[in-house]
Structures are given as C-alpha cells and as structure tokens.
Symmetry: C2
C-alpha cells in the first residue's frame, strides 16, 4: 500500500521541529538581550561582530558580508545604512574597484560589540549550553558542522524536488 503520507519517521521529524523551535527561541532571546543592552538587532550584531572580530583590518566588502550572513543584498544595504547612521561603521568606495563598497567598523562600533558580548554569551550559555550535559554541546557541534557544509554546498533550489539525487 502506498502510504502517501511522507517518508520521514517520527525521529527525523522530531529532530527537524526541535531544530527549528530551538533556533527560533534562541534567536528571540538573543535578540532581546542585544536590543536591551546595546540597541542592536541580531543582524546588526552579526555584521559588527564579523567586522570587529573576524576581520584583521576591521573592514569587508558588502558582498562578503552578505555571504557570511544569510541575507538579501538589499537588506544588507539597509542595515549597513543604519549602522553608518549610528556611527558604528563607515562606508567607502574601493580604490581598485569603484563598484565595491568597503565597510569598516569604527572605534565606537568595536566598543559597542564589547558592551554587548558578555551578555550575549551569557544568554547562549544559560539557554543552550546549560541544557546540555557535559559533552553534549560538543556532540551538537560535531553533528551540525557537516549539515552546514552540506547545505552550503547543495543547490538552493531545483534539486530539492522529485526523485533524483
């Protein structure tokens, strides 16, 4: 009998829902903390953090920022505009390539990140790490890493459907 309902056992479905729920709630809490302690949205924090912590010179091209964060280009333009208005970053056209806009954190931007980071980390620890006994967090990291790689590699559309693969 072709049981038309899907072909995902309860365990798989459970993992899927749990993943989405946990991420959703975690994001919600993190966003609250960022808003309260630093008047930043999650996206803005991600952008600032990437510039202040993951970049040697504190600057990056718009496109590189967009790739790091899962975001539309237009949304990025908007958010960087806000950050610029707030004095946390500066924008400048690249010399080598006039099309490119280079975004750079200001000292105030770095300072803001420093202000929010401890509380941010507290939230993650209290909400996520604390719920996982001992090595749990490590196992979680080990499980998710390959998934992330798989997803980044996989084509966003068109391959998802029908028999194939």
């Amino acid at each position: 009998m072709p049981s038309d309902p899907p072909r995902l056992d309860p365990v798989q479905l459970g993992a899927y829902f749990a993943l989405m729920d946990v991420a959703g709630m975690l994001r919600h809490r993190v966003e609250q903390q960022l808003k309260e302690e630093g008047d930043l949205s999650y996206v803005q924090f991600q952008l600032l953090a990437r510039l202040a912590l993951d970049s040697t010179d504190g600057s990056a091209r718009m496109t590189d920022l967009a790739d790091g964060v899962v975001y539309s280009r237009s949304g990025l333009t908007y958010q960087v505009g806000l950050l610029e208005k707030a004095g946390l970053v500066t924008r400048a056209a690249s010399q080598e390539d006039e099309r490119v806009v280079v975004v750079t954190v200001t000292e105030e931007g770095r300072s803001r990140v420093r202000t929010v980071l401890p509380g941010h980390v507290d939230v993650v620890r209290d909400q996520l790490v604390a719920a996982l006994p001992g090595a749990g967090i490590g196992q979680l990291a080990d499980l998710l890493a390959p998934v992330r790689d798989h997803m980044r590699a996989a084509p966003p559309r068109s391959a998802a459907t029908r028999r194939g693969r």
Copy 2:
C-alpha cells in the same frame, strides 16, 4: 590585560553558530518549496499543519495556535486573516466564551497541506537527514529535545544575567 571577552570556548561558540546557520538556511529552503508548490509561507504552513495534523477536530483557539508557533498575537491575527481569505480556514466566536475565536481548517486547507507535505519532507530529508550519517539524526533529536524543554521552561527575560550588571 584581563581577557574579559566571553567565556565560551570555541566548541560552544561553534555549536551556537552552526545551530543558527543551519536553522536559518533550512528555513529558507523550506520556505521556497512551500511558496512554489503551495503558495504558503512557513508560518502559514505551520498553522495549517497544526490544525490538520495535530488536532483531533481540526480546530484551535487563537491563543493555543500562538503558543505553539513562536509568534506575536498580532502577527497571528494577520496570518489567520490571510488563510481565511484564501479559504483554508474559518473563524468563529466560541459559544462558551465570546472572547475566544476558534479557527478551523477547511477541507481545502487539509488538501493544501496534503499537496505540499511530500515536497516539504523531501527538502528536510535532502537538506538535513541526508547530511547526517546513520544514527546522527537520532542523536540530534536526543540532544535538542532537552534544550527545547529547558528553553520553554526558562524565563524569557531578566534571568539572562546573574553576576555582573
């Protein structure tokens, strides 16, 4: 110089970022599929699915729906309004309590869920399950379940910081 920056080792941070990234990408892909094959947003699908699959009589109060989905009340009103306009659900005041609005899936709503479910499951399998070898998906479920419970139980605000501040 005291290393005041966070107190989360790289593994914990890695798990956190991986979680947020994976959930973000997965949601993005799932949303695409839903939009293409059923003209539904992720939220709308969640609402319909909850009514069609998780409810014995195919109906629920607005508040119960909002609690299940991580969502604001006003956003729920908006989305249910759209679903009603599309003929996928109906709204009616409760008899016992005039304040309560009971939402019920229509047959067309159920049908819509049936239409999108297979593709939805395909995406989850291709993107999430396929990336995890053997028992991986089960381990993921086991790890996330307690986290979800922990978060649901934990106070949404104000408890984020203990010492300091």
